[in-house]
Amino acid sequence: MSQNNRFEIETGTSSRRRFIQIAGATGLAGMAGCGGGGGGEGESTDTDSGGDSGGDSGGDSGGDAESIETRFWEEWPVETKGSDVNDEAIQFEYTAVEGETVPEVDTHFAQAETPWMREFALLVQQSLNDLGVPVNLVNVQPSTRYGEFWRADIGHPMPVTMNLHGPDPQRGLDPNPFLMRAHPETGGNYYNYKNDEVTELLDEQAQTIGDQEARAEVCAEVAQLLNEDAYLIAANFPEVITVANTADWEGYIPTPGNGTTRDSFIWTQVNLQPQGDSTTWVKGVTSGIQGTNLPFSSGGQEEKRLLNVYDGLFDASPQLEIVPALATNADVVDDTTVEMDLREGVEWHDGEPFTPQDVKFSVEYYQENDAPQQAAFVRPIDSVEIVSESGGGRVRFNLTEPDASFLTQRVVRSAIIPEHRWSDIDSPAQYNPDNPVGTGPFSFVSWDQGSQIRMEKHENNWMWDDDIRRELVGEEYFVPGDGIDEIVWANVGNVSTLIGAMQSGDIDAIGTTVSNAQADRAANTSGVEKQTARNYVPTDVHLSHLVPLFRDKTFRVALSHAFDKEGFVENTLGGRGEAIEGQNLLTPILTPYHAETEPYEYDPEMAQEMLQQAGYTYDGEDNLVWPEGDAWDAFAERVENGHASREDLDQPDFS
């Protein structure tokens, strides 16, 4: 019986699964050699073809063990998810069988993501093991994981996956990128979490435009509900550790999430002042860009590095505030209308003047041609009008619906391109400009595929003005001066060579995060320093809410108590990070949207006790065993509900 089950878990699609069940019915049932095994087979076939609700009602004869499969538990407001598409949308099996040992949980991670991801995976494994749940750790390639395992249509096709989120600026500016992942209608809901109370509040906050405090209050309520429901494990905000030469260069800015030298923000390179002989700042990186087409790139380094060439309507400051860029202010006319004044005297790198028409063109061009990197910016825009041409000009954005994040993350992600350079391009998705022209603080000089990109200072940009820059980056970080003349990204291939090149003085900074130990090694050289910045993106562990084990809130709460967040930060990260209080993905830096959430005390013994009270038992080898009898019915009830604990449902203590 249990062997048959394990066999099923390893098979992929539902059609193959059926085949095996048929094979089981004809041949293997005899091998299983007991009535219970045959009954189990019959029942799962039953659930499969009938598609009826829950295994709890499925058992037809008293002596047979009941089972609950991994499935969608209700209908969803999107086509690809919900209980009527279970056959297509469920791509893995994980079944709870009354009185059987809890089977192994497939748990995905990408070791190459950070220097300590493997240690983190081992912590996840340990936490589950402490509760008696065996774990199968699967290491996947960071590059292919998103296409394969982060499925917008059906969610994660495995029970558990972990990840350190990337420092995309929008994630530090607006609560939506993380909170809306708990909304059933977004593609980012990889955990297939659906909680109507939360959904309603999420809708409410997303449309609260203009009143920050009111929106923050709703967000706080959401965060507390999610935390109380222990919907995932939000583990830590690891510090961003980078290395740079501080003897020859002054003015590094430790932007949260990005650190001093990474490419998601441009503040360091516009603020940097040469103190030595060279005015060309060389940053060593491990991967090059693949093209010079920012709006139509398919995601990667090109978007980030070309940010130096292009400007957006607004920027995110080192304090993660929205600060003016091409637009100098934004007026909310009504819920769906926003007007912006554009900066006066801005020139494209080729000398042409920047006009409101360029903004209108960019938006329309991106919409018409589906520009992947600009989709987040243009999606809620219905139309753009030019209100005035005087001064820098004034444009009006008509939105399709009220969108609180338009004036935060969306405008910050914008990049405006010159109409006179793009209007003749027929197929922009297959176009690679030889000389990408923008308005940004640096103009493009050259790109040698696989080895380097070079840009030079564009004097006309406002960021080179001391007064304006002081305002943008803040007094704390501002360093006056003319800045650097050139910036070069040198592709050095791997971190060890980067550190060697740093020590030999071939590069001035390492443009990627390094581990604490690597940073200390590099900082042994005189003039080289380790630099750290806070982070606004968390390391988290996603639990699939389709899996009966994680659908049981009691188990999620127990797991929260069995997860040693602080121990990991202290021991593995060497104190370089913040353990997260509660299961809350929003950083305390994100004011006013961050709210305090109640932490789960680390106490694995108490967690085991909770599970036993809820009807789980342990076998002789400390493996967790699914509940039996009345306790099974209580378990089935909790799974059916999804968001209620034993106490919520007035269930007795089964221990």
Partner: protein
């Protein structure tokens, strides 16, 4: 007549092999579970509908046999299409990378082929000498050591330790040359070139040395050499005659190696951050950039097959028995 038949047969086999190779790579790539665009949905950049439009733009929405047919047709007319992830023609991606690889590997191979072969012949001629024994040991050690390990040792000594030579790349980050000529003919380039060149030469030296030595050893004592000695030729002149007769395996091996150069040496490229074809290919595979991978693999397969054919032909030409029609 028979040589022509021989050539025809070999060419046909080569063409068939190429077709099989490109078909295998086509099938392998399509077996991967996702494509580069699925990640765009995951990251929330595009909706599934918009991604479908992107797929259509690249013909990925067509039935698999149509894709295959077009693929074969385009490959054999050297139209590689446009990269899925880099917004530009595949040729623009592959050719500069291939040039960088050939600039590094071809001179290294030629240099090691000449030097090591001569040394090998000399070693074989002086069997049992100190030179023979030590040269075999040294080159075998370098042949047995992975090339990136040799590379790392060279870096540790000459770059990090002595600081004589730069640690990475093809040129200094501060240099900004224009065009191929300025790029490849400068002192700066030479400095960056020395270490990876040396690592390659050392790595390949063992093969040529052993081949040449063994060949000469086989010729020693043969009747034609006895005749030469009887004619009163000096030792070196006799070695020259023996060497010419030992060329066959060397030429074959050189041709095969040249074909394989087109694949680059990925570990070498990573250690020295050399922007060659190996790294470009790995990058393309990780990005699931089908057209780039297909084109790169096609060129690599074609190079090996053509060089094999060349070796066959050269063999036939070098061996007079072929002219006699006895193949």
């Amino acid at each position: 007549m028979s040589f022509r038949r021989f050539l025809l047969k070999r060419t046909l086999i080569a063409a068939l092999l190429t077709l099989i190779a490109v078909s295998v790579i086509f099938a392998t790539l399509r077996l991967l579970p996702a494509d580069p665009f699925s990640g765009l949905v995951a990251s929330g950049s595009l909706t599934p509908d918009e991604v479908d439009q992107m797929r259509a733009l690249y013909g990925l929405d067509e039935p698999i046999y149509v894709q295959y047919y077009k693929y074969i047709q385009n490959l054999f007319s050297f139209q590689f299409g446009i990269s899925l992830t880099q917004q530009r023609p595949v040729g623009d991606i592959i050719i500069p990378a291939l040039v960088n690889t050939m600039v590094l590997l071809l001179p290294a191979l030629v240099a090691t082929a000449i030097v090591s072969s001569l040394a090998g012949m000399y070693a074989g001629w002086n069997r049992g000498s100190w030179f023979e024994q030590s040269s075999i040991v040294v080159t075998t050690v370098f042949r047995a050591t992975p090339i990136f390990v040799t590379g790392i040792f060279l870096l540790i000594i000459f770059s990090y330790g002595l600081g004589w030579l730069p640690a990475f790349g093809m040129r200094s980050s501060l240099a900004n040359p224009d065009g191929y000529l300025e790029t490849y003919l400068s002192v700066d380039f030479l400095k960056h070139y020395l270490l990876p060149f040396t690592a390659t030469v050392l790595f390949y030296s063992g093969d040529f040395l052993m081949l040449a030595r063994n060949s000469v050893v086989e010729r020693m004592g043969s009747e034609f050499l006895m005749l030469h000695r009887a004619k009163g030729l000096s030792e070196m002149e006799q070695l020259g005659r023996a060497g010419r007769n030992s060329l066959l395996p060397l030429v074959t091996y050189f041709a095969l190696r040249t074909g394989m150069l087109f694949q680059g040496v990925i570990t070498l490229e990573v250690v020295f951050a050399w922007p060659g074809i190996g790294r470009a290919l790995v990058q393309a595979i990780l990005n699931q950039d089908y057209p780039t991978v297909q084109a790169a693999v096609f060129i690599m397969a074609l190079a090996v097959i053509i060089m094999n054919l060349t070796a066959d032909v050269a063999y036939a030409k070098l061996d007079p028995t072929v002219e006699a029609g006895d193949v």
